[in-house]
C-alpha cells in the first residue's frame, strides 16, 4: 500500500515529519517497507529558460541552446527535443546530476563537436512519469535557477505492508486513523454531501445471490464528460503506484485507495436490461479488464445483465462494459460481497486485484452509502452530469459486534500495566465504543474491523498503540535444579550417528526432500511414492523414498567439479505412506562413496577406488554407534535392484528385519545418475533399530579382566566357493560359547593347492580360560567342536 504524505494530510492534520510518521507506522504494526522522496533525487536539476535555440551545425535533429539559470551566465546546451525552443522554461540537469531514470551521471561533454554543459530533461528522465515526447515545459514564471526539487516540493511516498487482518488500512483514511490514535495528529472527519437524485434510477439493480452479494447499491450519472483527471487526483494515484487512466476510472480508484472502498463504474451504453448480482452459470465466460478471458462456474458471483457477465464480482470488471473516453452515462456499483466467496473465486481463477484484496479481507459493511456519496460527489464535480436516485438492493451485514473485555487482560495477556483510562482513550481513537458494565467492559467494534472478535484482539489494539517497547521482559519460571535432558531416544540416536559419521570422514549433506519422479520410482521398491500436484519443477516432484538419489546427485555434482573422492552422508526422512493414507516418515541415513578411497601416494602406489567393503565398514560402524546389536547381524542378499547383484548385501536382525543395505551400485543405477566409475553406497534404516530396554541399575554390567591369559589357535577350512565365510565364522564362533571369545577370518585363499571350486578360509580363534589354564585334552576337545561346527557349514579342516 503506497501513498504520499500530502494524500495522508488530507485526512490527518499533523505536523509530524515523514521519519516520525514512518517510525510510528511500523510501531503500530503497519510496517514501513520504504519511504521514497522522488524530489530528493532532483536537487541538482534547476529551473532554466531557453534564451536561444539554433540549429546544430553537424546534426539535423539537434539544436544548440543557450540556457539561462537566472544568474546572467547563460550555458550552452545541446538538445534533441523537438519542443526545445527559445522562451521555453524547463529543467536543466547540471554536470554531476544523476538522471533518476537511468542512473547516468551528467557530464560536461561535446556532442558532435559542440560543447554541452548539461541536459534539458523530459518527465520520464526525471522519473516523474512516462512522458518522453519532449522536454518538460514549466510555466513561464517559474523561478529560474531554483532547484527542481524545491520547485516541485517534497512529497515523500510511504510504502506500507498491510497485514491480512487490516482491510481498514487498505485505504489511506484507515492509516490516518491509526496514526491519530498514536498521537500523530488529528483525524479529519469524512465530510461528503449527498448528491440528491434528480430522477429515478433508469436501470433495474438486483441481487439474486444474497449469499455472495448481500448488498448492491447503485445509481446512474448521466451526461458526464470523461477525460484526464485533474492533477491532484493524478498525483495521488501516481504516489500509490497507479497509472491514471481517465477521470471516471481514477475516481473509483481514488475512493478505493483513499477509503478502502472498491467500486465499479459501468458504461451504461454497454449494458442491456437489469443489472444483477447472481451466480455464474458453469462455463460462462468474461473477458476481464486485464484482457484475459475467464471461464466461470456456479460457485462464483458475477454482475451480469441480459447480454451476459460484465464483472467477476468484487474482483475485476469486464473489458466490454468499462468506462472509456466516450462514456457519457455511467452506472456506479457499490456492493458488499461475501469475503469467503471472493477468496475462493480469486483462488480458482488465479486472479488477483486491488478490489479482491479488499473484499476478501472484508470491507466496511456500513460504508456503502458514504462510498457512493464520495464517488457521486467527485464524478459530478470533475466530470459533470446528473445523478439518479440511489437503488439499494439487499442489505449488507450489520458488522456490529460487541466484545466483553476485562481491562486487566492487558496485563494478564499483554504483560504490560496500562490504566483503564488510557485503554479507553486508545479504543475510542480507533473507533471502538466502551461501555463499562461492572468489572468488564462491553466494547463495541467498529464496522471496519472485521478482524476483531475477542478480548485478545482488544489487548492487541491497546498494546500496539501503547507501544510494544513498553512490555517488560519477564523471565519464564525456571524449574528447580539443573536443566533436565530433553532429547528423546530418537533425537539422541540421530545426533550420535551424525557425529559418528562426520568423525569417520564423511561430510553431511542436506538434499531436497523431493526428486524427479523417475529417480523416486527407481528407489521406491514398489512402495507408494508421494507425488506433488503442483511441483515447482519436474526435478522437484516426488517425495524421496530413499536418501540415496539425492546424495548420488550431489556426488555427481562434486565429481563434475573436479573432486577425486566424494564421501557424503545425509540423515533425514524417507517418505512412505501409512495404510490409512497418512504420511509415514522414517528416519534414515545414507552414505555415498564415489571416486578414490585412497589417492595415489608415495607409500601406497596407485589410487584405490572405493569397494563394497568400504560400504560395509561404514554400515557396521554407524549401526554400532546407533546401538544396533552388530554382533548378531546376518549378512544376507537382496539389497535391491539398485545395487550390483554380486557386490551388495543387507544386514539383518533375523531373516526379515533389514537394518541396512550396502554395496556397490548397479552400473545401470550409476549410469542413470550419470556417474562414471564404481560407486559404493549404504542405506541405514534407523527406524528399525530396536530400542534399548530401559536398564535398571548401572549403565555398565560388571566386568573384571580375566586373570588367565587367552590363547589363540588357527584353523584352515576348505569350503565350496558358495559357502559364505561369514557363515563359517559364525559356526566356528558358536562352537563353544564359553571358551571361544573371539574369532576372525584372516585369509581367504583360492588357487594352487586348493581344489577347483573351493577356497581355503583361515580363522583365528581366541580362547579364554576362566578358572584354570587349558590342558591338551581341553584344547583338543574345543578344536574338535570347532571342526564339527565348520563341517556343518561345508568346511573341512585342511590337513
Amino acid at each position: 500500500m503506497k501513498f504520499s504524505l500530502s494524500w495522508l494530510k488530507t485526512f490527518l492534520d499533523t505536523k509530524a515529519d515523514a521519519a516520525t510518521i514512518a517510525r510510528t507506522l511500523t510501531a503500530l504494526g503497519l510496517e514501513i517497507e520504504g519511504v521514497e522522496d522522488a524530489s530528493a533525487a532532483l536537487t541538482r536539476f534547476r529551473v532554466a529558460r531557453v534564451l536561444t535555440a539554433d540549429k546544430h551545425p553537424q546534426a539535423d535533429k539537434l539544436q544548440v541552446l543557450s540556457v539561462d539559470l537566472g544568474d546572467g551566465n547563460p550555458l550552452q546546451v545541446v538538445c534533441g527535443a523537438p519542443n526545445a525552443r527559445a522562451g521555453l522554461v524547463g529543467v536543466l540537469g547540471l554536470p554531476g546530476a544523476v538522471v533518476p531514470a537511468n542512473g547516468m551521471e551528467l557530464r560536461k561533454s561535446a556532442i558532435r563537436g559542440v560543447e554541452s554543459n548539461g541536459m534539458m530533461c523530459s518527465t520520464r528522465e526525471l522519473g516523474l512519469g512516462e512522458e518522453h515526447d519532449g522536454i518538460i515545459e514549466l510555466p513561464a514564471d517559474a523561478p529560474l535557477g531554483t532547484s527542481f526539487a524545491d520547485y516541485l516540493g517534497s512529497d515523500p511516498v510511504f510504502d506500507v505492508s498491510i497485514t491480512p487482518n487490516r482491510p481498514d488500512c487498505m485505504g489511506v483514511y484507515g492509516i490516518a486513523r491509526d496514526l491519530a490514535a498514536a498521537g500523530i495528529g488529528t483525524l479529519q472527519p469524512i465530510e461528503v454531501a449527498h448528491v440528491p437524485g434528480a430522477y429515478p434510477c433508469p436501470v433495474e439493480i438486483r441481487t439474486d445471490d444474497p449469499e455472495g452479494c448481500p448488498a448492491f447499491h447503485g445509481r446512474v450519472i448521466r451526461g458526464v464528460k470523461n477525460g484526464p483527471s485533474p492533477q491532484w487526483l493524478q498525483d495521488a494515484l501516481k504516489s500509490a503506484g497507479q497509472r491514471p487512466i481517465s477521470a471516471l476510472v481514477d475516481i473509483t480508484n481514488y475512493v478505493m485507495l483513499g477509503y478502502g472502498r472498491p467500486a465499479h463504474a459501468y458504461d451504461l451504453a454497454k449494458l442491456t436490461g437489469a443489472v444483477v448480482a447472481r451466480r455464474a452459470v458453469d462455463g460462462e465466460g468474461v473477458t476481464a479488464l486485464n484482457g484475459k478471458h475467464y471461464i466461470l462456474d456456479h460457485e462464483m458471483t458475477v454482475i451480469a445483465d441480459d447480454a451476459g457477465v460484465h464483472d467477476v464480482a468484487g474482483i475485476m470488471g469486464g473489458e466490454h462494459s468499462g468506462c472509456s473516453e466516450t462514456t457519457t452515462d455511467v452506472l456506479l456499483e457499490v456492493a458488499y460481497f461475501n469475503p469467503q466467496r471472493i477468496a475462493r473465486t480469486g483462488q480458482a481463477l488465479a486472479l488477483t486485484s486491488d478490489a479482491r484484496g479488499r473484499f476478501e479481507r472484508g470491507v466496511d459493511p456500513a460504508f456503502l452509502d458514504t462510498g457512493l456519496d464520495l464517488l457521486t460527489d467527485l464524478i459530478v464535480k470533475i466530470c459533470g452530469g446528473e445523478a439518479s436516485e440511489v437503488v439499494r438492493a439487499g442489505a449488507a451485514p450489520s458488522g456490529q459486534k460487541t466484545v466483553a473485555y476485562d481491562p486487566a487482560l492487558a496485563g494478564q495477556l499483554g504483560g504490560v500495566t496500562m490504566s483503564a483510562s488510557e485503554q479507553q482513550r486508545i479504543l475510542a481513537a480507533l473507533g471502538f465504543g466502551v461501555v463499562e458494565t461492572g468489572e468488564h467492559w462491553a466494547v463495541s467494534v467498529p464496522t471496519w474491523r472485521p478482524d476483531v472478535d475477542g478480548a485478545p484482539d482488544i489487548v492487541e489494539e491497546v498494546i500496539r498503540v501503547h507501544g510494544l517497547d513498553a512490555v517488560p521482559s519477564t523471565p519464564l519460571p525456571r524449574a528447580d535444579g539443573v536443566a533436565k535432558p530433553t532429547a528423546t531416544p530418537v533425537q539422541a540416536l540421530e545426533r550420535r550417528v551424525r557425529r559418528a559419521a562426520a568423525a569417520r570422514g564423511l561430510h553431511e549433506a542436506v538434499t531436497w526432500s523431493f526428486l524427479p519422479e523417475a529417480e523416486a520410482t527407481a528407489f521406491a521398491d514398489g512402495q507408494f511414492a508421494w507425488t506433488l500436484a503442483n511441483p515447482i519443477s519436474e526435478d522437484l516432484k516426488a517425495m524421496r523414498p530413499s536418501l540415496l538419489p539425492g546424495l548420488l546427485g550431489a556426488a555427481k555434482r562434486n565429481l563434475d567439479r573436479g573432486a577425486s573422492s566424494v564421501r557424503l552422508f545425509e540423515i533425514g526422512r524417507r517418505y512412505l505412506r501409512a495404510e490409512n493414507g497418512s504420511s509415514d516418515e522414517k528416519l534414515s541415513l545414507a552414505v555415498v562413496l564415489a571416486g578414490e578411497r585412497t589417492q595415489r601416494g608415495w607409500a601406497t602406489g596407485k589410487a584405490v577406488a572405493f569397494d563394497a567393503f568400504d560400504a560395509k565398514a561404514e554400515a557396521l560402524a554407524l549401526l554400532a554407534e546407533a546401538g544396533a546389536p552388530v554382533e548378531n547381524l546376518q549378512v544376507m542378499g537382496e539389497a535391491g535392484a539398485q545395487f550390483h547383484p554380486g557386490q551388495s548385501a543387507t544386514l539383518r536382525l533375523g531373516p526379515k528385519q533389514v537394518l541396512a543395505r550396502f554395496g556397490m551400485l548397479h552400473p545401470a543405477t550409476a549410469k542413470a545418475f550419470d556417474l562414471d566409475g564404481p560407486v559404493a553406497a549404504v542405506e541405514l534404516f534407523l527406524d528399525r533399530i530396536p530400542a534399548k530396554k530401559a536398564a535398571s541399575g548401572f549403565a555398565r554390567t560388571h566386568f573384571a579382566p580375566p586373570a588367565l591369559q587367552a590363547v589363540t589357535r588357527d584353523f584352515a577350512f576348505l569350503a565350496p566357493l558358495g559357502v559364505p565365510a561369514g557363515d563359517l565364522l559364525r559356526a566356528v564362533k558358536g562352537a563353544d560359547k564359553q571358551a571361544i571369545v573371539a574369532a576372525r577370518v584372516f585369509d581367504d585363499f583360492r588357487g594352487a593347492g586348493v581344489p577347483e571350486g573351493h577356497k581355503s578360509i583361515a580363522i583365528e580363534v581366541t580362547l579364554q580360560p576362566v578358572d584354570k589354564s587349558f590342558d591338551e585334552a581341553a584344547l583338543k576337545a574345543i578344536a574338535d567342536k570347532v571342526v564339527a561346527a565348520a563341517a556343518k557349514q561345508g568346511g573341512v579342516l585342511r590337513g
Binding site: A343, E360, L413, V459, L468, T486, A502, S583
Partner: protein, 362 residues
C-alpha cells in the same frame, strides 16, 4: 707378561665382533694362554702362588674387561650404522585421514536444542507431509483465509482416511497442534524441521528449515515471550548487546501477534547482529514471528483457553545459521558441495554444550 700387552693391543685393534671372539678364545678359551697360566697355579708352591697368583688373575680380569669394552663399542657402532641406514624422510606426507563435517543446519539445530533445554524446552517433531487440518484449519486458517493463499503451498493429489487434503507443511506450526493434542498442558517445546513453500529465487528455496517454539501454561503473557526471545537470541549469537524491536503484526494462530526484528550493523558488507538498528550503517532485520497463542488454536489443541494460555514463535534455522556464521547463499545449503561443507560445516567434536559454549568460534 708380554702376552698380556700383546693381547690388549690386539683387542684394541680388533674391528669386528668375530675378531674379538677369536682373541677371547686365544686368551680365555680352554687352550688360551690365560687359561694355561691359571692351570700352572696348582703346581706352584704356596709362596710362588702368593706372588704369581694375583698377577695371573689381574691379567685375566684385564683381558676380560678389555674384551667387554671392545665388544660394547663395536656393537654400538654397528647399531649406529644400522639406524643410519634406516633413516626415512619425515617430510613425506603421513597417511591421510579424510575429515568429515556436520552440516550447519544440524549444528544450529543442536545449538538451539541446547539453549532451549536450559530453559526447559523439549524437542518435538511432526510429519512433513501434513493434512490441511493440522497445517491450516487448526491454526485458525479456515479454507478461504487469505493467509492460506499466501503460503504458496505444495499439495498432493491425495487425501487421508478422513478426507483431508495432503500437503507439504508450510511451517512447523502444526507440531503445536500435534503436541498439545498428544501431551496436553503445561508445555514447553521447540520443533525444528523441514518446511516447504512453492517459492524459489535468490533468497528462497522450496525447502528450508524452521524452528517453532511453544509455551502453554497458566499466566503466560507477552512479557514472557519477550524475555524468552531475548534470552534465546543473546545465547544463540553469544552477544549481550542483542537489541530486539517488537512490532505488532498478524498471524492467524496468534493474538496479539508480534514480529521481532533484531538490530544489526553492516561490517565489511555483511550484516552483523548486535546493537540497536537505528544507528549509522545499522538496520533492523526481521528474525522471528511470534505472539500469544490464539484461543481458537488452544481449543483445536484440545485445551481450555480459559485455563491455559501461552506464546508461540517461529524462525528460519537456515537464516539463523547464515546470520551467525556468515554464509550468504541459501541455495548452497542444499547443494552438497564438499568444498562448501568442508568450509562451513562443523567438526564431529564441535558438540554444543552450555559449559563449552553453544557456538563455534573462529
Amino acid at each position: 707378561m708380554e702376552q698380556l700387552e700383546q693381547t690388549l693391543a690386539a683387542i684394541a685393534a680388533a674391528d669386528t665382533a668375530d675378531a674379538v671372539e677369536a682373541i677371547r678364545v686365544s686368551a680365555l678359551g680352554k687352550q688360551g694362554w690365560v687359561s694355561a697360566l691359571l692351570k700352572t697355579l696348582g703346581a706352584m708352591s704356596p709362596e710362588q702362588r702368593q706372588s704369581e697368583g694375583p698377577k695371573i688373575h689381574a691379567a685375566r680380569e684385564a683381558v676380560t674387561a678389555a674384551l667387554g669394552e671392545r665388544k660394547g663399542a663395536l656393537e654400538s657402532a654397528a647399531l649406529e650404522a644400522r639406524l643410519a641406514a634406516e633413516t626415512v624422510d619425515l617430510s613425506l606426507p603421513a597417511p591421510e585421514t579424510p575429515r568429515g563435517s556436520v552440516h550447519p543446519v544440524s549444528q544450529v539445530m543442536d545449538e538451539l536444542a541446547e539453549i532451549f533445554a536450559d530453559m526447559g524446552f523439549a524437542v518435538a517433531s511432526g510429519p512433513e507431509i501434513e493434512d490441511d487440518w493440522h497445517n491450516f484449519t487448526a491454526l485458525n486458517m479456515p479454507e478461504t483465509h487469505p493467509a492460506r493463499a499466501m503460503h504458496d503451498t505444495f499439495y498432493f493429489p491425495d487425501k487421508d482416511a478422513e478426507g483431508r487434503s495432503m500437503l507439504l507443511r508450510t511451517h512447523t506450526s502444526p507440531v503445536q497442534i500435534r503436541t498439545m493434542l498428544a501431551q496436553g498442558a503445561p508445555l514447553r517445546i521447540i520443533a525444528p524441521g523441514r518446511v516447504y513453500r512453492s517459492d524459489s529465487d535468490a533468497t528462497h528455496t522450496p525447502m528450508f528449515h524452521q524452528i517453532e517454539g511453544l509455551v502453554i501454561d497458566k499466566g503466560i503473557h507477552l512479557g514472557h515471550l519477550k524475555w524468552t526471545l531475548e534470552t534465546f537470541l543473546k545465547a544463540f549469537f553469544e552477544r549481550d548487546d542483542i537489541v530486539l524491536r517488537l512490532r505488532p503484526s498478524y498471524f492467524p494462530f496468534t493474538e496479539p501477534s508480534v514480529e521481532v526484528d533484531v538490530g544489526y550493523t553492516v561490517i565489511n558488507g555483511k550484516r552483523v547482529v548486535g546493537g540497536g538498528g537505528d544507528v549509522e550503517n545499522g538496520g533492523w532485520m526481521e528474525v522471528l514471528g511470534s505472539g500469544m497463542v490464539n484461543r481458537k488454536v488452544i481449543e483445536f489443541g484440545g485445551l481450555d483457553p480459559d485455563e491455559w494460555q501461552g506464546f508461540a514463535f517461529g524462525t528460519g534455522v537456515d537464516r539463523l545459521a547464515m546470520l551467525k556464521y556468515g554464509m550468504d547463499d541459501l541455495r548452497a545449503f542444499f547443494d552438497g558441495d564438499a568444498r562448501w561443507l568442508g568450509h562451513y560445516g562443523f567438526g564431529a567434536l564441535d558438540v554444543p554444550t552450555l559449559s563449552g559454549g553453544v557456538g563455534v568460534r573462529p
